[in-house]
Every structure is written in C-alpha cells, then in structure tokens.
Amino acid sequence: MSLRLIERIIGPRVSPEETWKRSLRYGTPGFLLLFARILLLVSLFLPYWHMELQAPQYPSGLHMTAYLNHLTGDVVEIDGLNHYIGMRSLYEAAQIEREVGVFIMILFVVLLELAAYIHSRWAVLLVAPVIFFPVVFLVDLQLWMRHFGLNLDPDAPLSNSIKPFVPTALGRGGIGQFVTIATPGIGLYLATAASVVLIAALFFHRRAYLPLVRQQANANERST
C-alpha cells in the first residue's frame, strides 16, 4: 500500500492549534464517537431482550432475559415446558453469538476509536457495522426463533396439537395457554441510541473534514 493511499484513508490532518481554535467543529465528531463507545460498553452489562410468558398457572409469569453473552431467568422452566412441544433447549440457541458477543462489542469500540482518527469518508466503513448492530441483533434473534419454532421434534408429546410456528422477536404472541410478550431491553435501547449518535457523528464528521478533503484534493490537482 502506498503512502499516498494511507494518507487518503486517514484523511487530512488538522494542526493542534487549529483544532483548539475551532474545537466545536473538530471536537464534536470525536466527542460523539466517544459517547457511542460509552453507550455500547455500558450496554454490555444490561439486558438486551426480555421474554415474558403469561399463563393461568404462573401468576407472576415466566421471565427470560437475554444479555449479549448469557441468558437469565426461568430458562430451565421454559425449557421444561418447551420440551412438550419438542422445542430445543434455549441454551442451544445463538451459542456462537453469545460467545463472541463481548468480543464483537470490544471490536466495535476499537473501530470507533479508529474512526475518530480517520478524517476521510473511510470512517463510514468503520462506523457503519456499529450503526447496523441493533438491527442485526434483532434479525439474528428472529432467525433463531424462526429456526426453533419451525424445527420442532415431531415425536414430542404435544406434536399433534402444537404445530410448528414462528415466534416474534418483538411484540405479543401466543402458544398453547401462554401469551408471550417480547420486549427490547435497556441494553438494546442503548445500542440503538449509540446508532443514532453515530449517524450524528458522521454528519458532523462530514461537515468538519469534507472541506479539508476537498481542499487537499484541489491542492493535489494543482500540484500535478
């Protein structure tokens, strides 16, 4: 890779004096990227998704909570009930995702850190995966639920009465005597907030550095 290409990727540099002088212009993207990183790091410790099951014989309901890397709540009881319809254990779902979840988040933080140093449109490439993360999370969840719901053990006790179905990743559903209510957790809200912050960050990034990139390009043109 030529030095030129690297220069184009990292984009134009701004002198410390200039940054200091126009701190709002050059500081905002960096600050927003930092804020997004904090949101994501905090979300690591917070629930991303809740599932509540309501039925007459469970007056306080059954509750399951998904964090990025583990499941808590009445998972054993829900698994026990699911065996009647031939659904696999929830612990078998999204195993890889739960294993790598924390590392992905750390990777995201590193990407955003790098993005703060890149003053060209390449920064978008680093930030975009983070922006799309909440959507990817929900799509992945929905795919798993679909996979679990459609692949019921045909030999299960209730296979005659409960046919394969697709549970919803968000919102109300029903299965047997249970009403299911799936809601996003605070962690997912924080990740979504991070996405919004990152879009804003890209906007201010563009406003700060696009003129410089253009100047540089013009200068290069003139020099050649």
Partner: protein, 658 residues
Amino acid sequence: MKLAPIPIRTVTATAVAAVGLLAGHAAAQSMADVQKAAQARGLSTADLLAAAKTYTPSGMKDEFVIFSSGGHSGQVHVIGVPSMRLIRTIAVFTPEPWQGWGYGVGNDVLAQGNVAGKPNLWGDTHHPALSETKGDYDGEWLFINDKINARVAVIDLRDFETKQILKNPLTVSNHGLCVTPDTEYVIESSQYGVPLGWEYATMEQYKEKHRGSVIFWKFDRKKGRIIPEESFAMELPPYWQDLVDAGKLASDGFIFINSLNTEMATGGVQDKKPPFEAGVSRNATDFLHIIDWRKAEAVFRAGGAKEQSGFPVISIETSIAEGLLHLTPEPRSPHGVDIAPKGDFIVVSGKLDPHVTVYSFEKVKRAIANKTYSGSDEYGIPILDFDAVVEARIEVGLGPLHTQFGNDGYAYTSLFLDSAVARWTLGGQYGKGTPEPDWTLVHKTPVQYNVGHIGAVHGDTVNPLGRYLISFNKWSVDRFLHPGPLLAQNFQLIDITGQGANMPVIYDMPVGFGEPHYAQIIRADLLKPWSIYPEVGWNPHKQQIDPMAPKKGMERVTRDGSTVEVWMTVVRSQFNPDHVKVKQGDTIIWRMTNIERAVDAVHGFAVPAYNIAVSLEPGETVTVEFIADTPGVFPFYCSEFCSALHLEMMGYLMVEPN
C-alpha cells in the same frame, strides 16, 4: 336549570360497578345485593360483620398461622387465621402417604420413635411449642409431644418436616411440653406415675416405686436437633404431673408444673376401691411444682445426676438438698399453668374449683428465700405456704382449664363445664390497660361446646398480640352436619379486639382429623419457609446437598452382586430411567431427585406391591431401599397431578422370578 342531587348510593354503586367491570365481573353489585343474599340465607347483621372480618377471598393470605396439635392423628395441623382454612398437615408420629411419611420418606425418623424396639405408628399429639427467642416465637422450629408413648418431635419450619423423634427413656406417657425463653431446652413433663425406666412394680408399691419426671431436652439450634447426651431429667413424686410452662423475664430460670393426683390414688374399681376419677380428686388442693432449672442444669453439669436407664436423673433427694424443687398448694385437679407475659404472675386453674389462682413470682422468690414453708410432702419436698405466695383468686366459672393473655391487660380462661371463655383483668403492671378494676371477671363468651385449650395470637409469649383468640372445643354436637356418629371438633375464632363484653365468636371450623389439644398462633410474617428446596439434590433430613443425589444426564442403573442401584431424575413428565429390571431377591437402592425449580412442581413416586409412596418436592432427593421379593411387572407412577401428561409419567419395575 336546577340539577337534581345525585344520591351517594347511586354514585357508590356506579363506582362499584365500574370497578367490577374493570375486574372482569359481569354484574354490578351493591349493598342491596348483599342484603338480599343475607336474607335468603337468614344471616343477621352480626353474621355479616363476622363474615367481613373473616372472609378471605381467593388469593388473599392469612395474617396469622395456627400450629395445632393433631390429637389422635399424631400430626400437626397448620391453619390460617382469620380464614380458618387448613393449609397443611405435618406428618409427625403417624405415617402419612401424601408426604410419603413412613412410605419411603422419614422412615428413619419414625423408627427413632420405636417403643421397646417396636414401631408404634400412631401418636397423641397434645402440646406444640414454637421455638422462642427472648421469650417470643421466632418461627424457626416447632416441637410437639406424643402423650401415649412419651415422645417428642422436632419440626423444621423451613420445610415443615419432622426431623427428629425422641423416645423418653424414663417414663411411658407424657403431657406437658414447653421451651425455655431462648429455646435452650425443650421441657417434657411426664403424665401418669410409673416405675422409671420400664421397670415393673405392683400398684401396692405405687408410693415407693412409681415416679413422675421432667426431662430437659437440650436443643442445638445450629444442628436443628435435640442432643440427648446434653439432656437430663429430674425425678418427681408420683403425682400426675400435667402441664409445664417456662418462666420468662421476671421468672426466667424457673419452670412450673402442676399436678393432679397428689392423693396417689391407684384405682382398683373392680375391687370396690374408689375409681381413679374419685380417688384422684379427693383432696382440696394439689401441688404446683416450682423448679429452678438453671440451678438444676448446674447440678447436672457438676455431676449431680445419677444414671437411670442410661439417662442422667437428678433424684428427689438431690433436688431437696440443692433447693431445686418446691411445691405449693394449688386448687384441685388443675389443668393449666400459664405464666403472664412479663413473667411476674403464674396463673393456675383447678378444673374442679371455680377460681383461677394467681401466684406472684416475687412472693414465690421471697418465700423460697425465707423458707416460708407450711410443711413438706411425703417425699420431704418443702411446700411453700399458700397464703405467702398467692396474689389473687378470681371466680371465673365452672371448669376453668387454660389461660392465655391479650395485649391490653386482659387474660382469658377456658371454662370446660360452662362451655365459655372468660375474660378477666390482670392486676399489677397490667392493670391500667383495661377500664375494669384489677383481678375481676369481665365477660364470658359462650362457645360450642366444652372448650379445652384456648389460643391467642402470641398469647403465651412475652409479647401477646391480642386480635384473635381461638377456642379449641371438644364437642360440636349441633354445629355441623353429622358425618356419622364420630363428630368433628370445633375451632371457634373469637374477635378480642374490643373491650368489656365485646368478644364475639366470628367463625366455626370443623376439625375432622383427630382431637386437637393445644395450638399456638404466630404472626405469618415470622415464618420464612422455603417455596422450593434451595438447590437441586437437596436432602431434607440433612438440610444440605446430598453428594449421592442423582443428577441430570447421570441417570443409570448399576448392579453390584445382588444389589441394584437406581439413579433416577424426576421432572415433568418423565422418570429417567423408566425401565428398572431386577431379579427376585435383589436389594434395590433407588435414589431419585426431583430436578424441578418451579414452585409447586411436586412429583410422587408410587410403587405397587412394595408399599412405597414418596413425595419429591422441587429439588428434593430421596433414597428408598427395599428387597424385590415379589416377582412381577409393577407399573410405578407419579402420584401428584404434575402436568397435562401426568398420567403418562410412569415406568415399569420388572422383577424377574428366580
């Protein structure tokens, strides 16, 4: 335009209707409907008020809990107050299939209660005693005596299960049971005079050979067990010791036992001698026993007890020499000795005397110190002068038996013959709590019928709470439908929140499971029972994880010679393994764990022909051992309706014939 005022009743009815609709009730309800329903059933305003005080709609929980002796059932019954609903039966001395008690669960505990090596599988439970801290119930443990065979049981209130049964090594039948204010000792007093330690003696030798006794069972709260090695007994004269109550606060360190056959009558009605009922009641007074148990404990620890039947017993001579035991006259044939909340008064009712007799502990102490004796009994035990120790005598009615205390200066005494509960005022430092003068009868509430014990909320502790009193009636006669000639007993709930004559009966509860005697009533929030066992693989007898408990994924059947071990997990709705194949004559050690964590996900394990019924509560592990001596194919099944596929929760035990 003038607006017509809207009647308040309409507004209320509309509001009630709105709430009703919100709550999902179809029809609007008003007080008019209540009146209509009451008229249809012939209910009075007092009845409706009683209903409002006691009716407990679905889902509402009781504020207090009764731990009632089960009488002949040999069990303990747990009842909610004010609903008077039976919540649970705790199996103690008697096998009980629902809990598996004696059919695979608790067999070892029941065997601790063997009498002369033989199972005696019924009990006559009389006096429950909740464990106490500083003289008030702490909700941790419950003790109960079995009168017929002089046994004491320890029940853990974390899981409401009996953990230990002790057979009294000295005497044959017991009666009283109480705990000391910090549950250092569980005290068991004997009933009928017998030669101590299962000796033989004739009736002519009654005075020389027969004896009464009291055992101080040392309780180790940490272990949750009575430690027989640290327990001791005191020899008493062969009067029929009856109830025992421990002193508290002012009288801490003492216990009080009353007695009824100080005549030492021995019956012999077939030989034209006076029957027991006459002989035992001849004297105008019997003896209240006053025992300094802290001093007795010191004498025992200093080696002052002699071994009898392998049990340390402090002799009457030692008791006299060490000043451990004093007597004082009490009205004839007493049935209750009850210590006032501050420990300052001792209330005794002689059931053939219309008074309650109140002794001052202050005066007792002074009389002991000054040796104010009116003489000594046949065994040389000093008798404190009655006039020197008595504080008050209150005429309450006929057949006074037992006394409980309210929170406001009232005491309550059951009147067996009058079929009533008397309310009377205490004096001394309790006096200002009541509008009536001290030491007077205030009111008698009739009860139906023939009351024995009564129980008030924390009514025998240092901190009585008032509110409710329950009359544990022996007869019900016309109160309930007749279920054949064996009638239910009647627990009557009495509201004692008011003063004076205001203490109405507000609920009748039929008791159709043996004749209870005493019961204690505790604040429900003091109980901290488990809803499920703390961890999967829990051994309730040891109250810890059992390393041998079968685990999920480790289910198996192993054979070692003629011993077959089954490691089974139990979950809705399957036993794993569900085939167990053995040979006739094999010894089977069947270990099973309920691996459920859901509240109420209880399973049963019932095996035909082998008399096995086990209850497996969530997390519990149980081991049953038996010899497969009967060949055949035995469908075992879950005996709790655990799930929609409960009927399918079964397996086969196949015993191949030789």
